[in-house]
Amino acid sequence: MHIADLLTAERVACGDPSASKKRVLEQLSALIAGGQPALTPTDVFDSLLARERLGSTGLGHGVAIPHGRVKHGTVTVGAFIKLQQPIDFDAIDGEPVDLLFGLLVPEQSTQEHLQLLAQLAEMFSDAAFVAGLRAAGSAAELHALLSQWKPGP
């Protein structure tokens, strides 16, 4: 599975005005649940929150990967938000976060999902790539950048 397969253009938002961790998780949940009849935003929100309670998904350098598992879910869905203003996310390095990749996986998560998470972490550790995301001016531009990224050799 590739990161490009997780996203659609509708699930990418640029310049979201959310000003708190709680609100941006709500926005991510709405994006993830949109177009998925089996998912409600509330279920997704609860799942992301439950994971966040065990430890922040703030990777450092302004990036977070909120993720969760949802009961009865069968699909793996991603969503991406670039915030207008960075917010406090309790990240490892204490830096505020402005780039968030939300990921929802089925209850029976597999090795494949762990690899997906590792791939996301790798993608966001590429400083030039992240700078490109920050420079992007529209959701379409963000979507194109995220879809084109390929893991290094």
Partner: protein
Amino acid sequence: MKIIILGAGQVGSSLANNLASEANDITVVDTEPQRLQALQDRLDLRTVTGQASHPEVLLRAGAEDADMLIAVTNSDETNMVACQIAYSLFRTPTKIARVRALEYLMHPQLFNPESIPIDVLISPEQLVTDYIHRLIEYPGALQVLNFAEGKVQLVAVKAYYGGPLVGHELQTLRQHMPGVDTRVAAIYRRNRPIIPEGTTVIEADDEVFFIAAKKDIRAVMSELRRLEKPVRHVIIAGGGNIGKRLAAALENDYQVKLIDHNPARARAVSEELSRTIVLQGDAADAELLLAENIEETDVFCALTNDDEANILSSMLAKRLGARKVMTLINRAAYVDLVESGEIDVAISPQQATIGSLLTHVRRGDVAAVHSLRRGAAEAIEAVAHGDKQSSKVAGRAVEDIKLPHGTTIGAIVRGSDVLIAHHDTVIEAEDHVILFVVDKKRIPEVERLFQVGITFL
């Protein structure tokens, strides 16, 4: 964390005090602007004046962004409605409310997302009652705190000259009691913490905090001081919420007398309780206390809502011969004042309540928190998750965990088993780990330790 506190009364204010000092973003709501002004003058927080349950007021308080709502106004109904509104309109992740009336509490099925969406109910009266009850069960203990639903207890005792272990190194404990496993989590000597090691020698008058399985507590206490004879006679002053509950909890196991000065209340309480002897009178009346055999009384508890009356009646009871006196004191300054004097145990409702709230404020999966030594120290029950890769705790032996300075791991609860921590005990995922943190400033490091890594799914 962004937290909204509804109600700037005693509980609300002391909460704001505790939480504002911990880099939280606090907003307090109350109908009385003067109360809010008093808080704002000394603490770094935001205030909103208004009716706490109104959606518009919650919105102004920042409900759209808040991680937590703590409803502690004087009205149960306001607290419940505020939680309902926070849930329906704002999806507030954690909703905590004080509900006092047993009429509501006796129907726990009410409190779920389908009916009244409160995640955590707190009842300070119940917490204080349980706290006193445990102290009466273990005469001689200064504090008895539960972890893992009471499977493990943390007990504070003052070591007495003549206790078998006093004057000996801690490592001799095992020879003294081969069948009993315990761990000394901290020692306070002349109010200064000492980090206990095998070679630490316990001195008389040390305040010793130890952790053991519930069944072993008495055995460990007997090593530190001569065991006191069990409590039989209890006198309670004040038939309010706490006094009445305590009498009800004790009356089947102890001989309980309850004194209240209000004739109507004394009558009402006597009708509700079956075995307690209820007396109408003044608990600070020496003749009444003498007539009720105060000199034969093992524990005298002053539990009215008047601090000064509680302190004076306790002092009088002690002077007239009560073996031990426990006093309910709301004002923090008074607690410090009386504890070195004739009063054996000062009970602060705020101190008893704050722990159950901190449990939800702490980052990571935390099952219980007890605030100790007036908030300077803390005991935490944290749950380990993940594996050696995603966790800094799970899959590691106790000696390999990088604990912050002044922090000890006392015990581990695995399923229904209690394991006292030794250097080679390996922590597994889902273990409940009980830690003692001498310096509250180290709490963020402990939180970090138990948080899972990014790759935990």
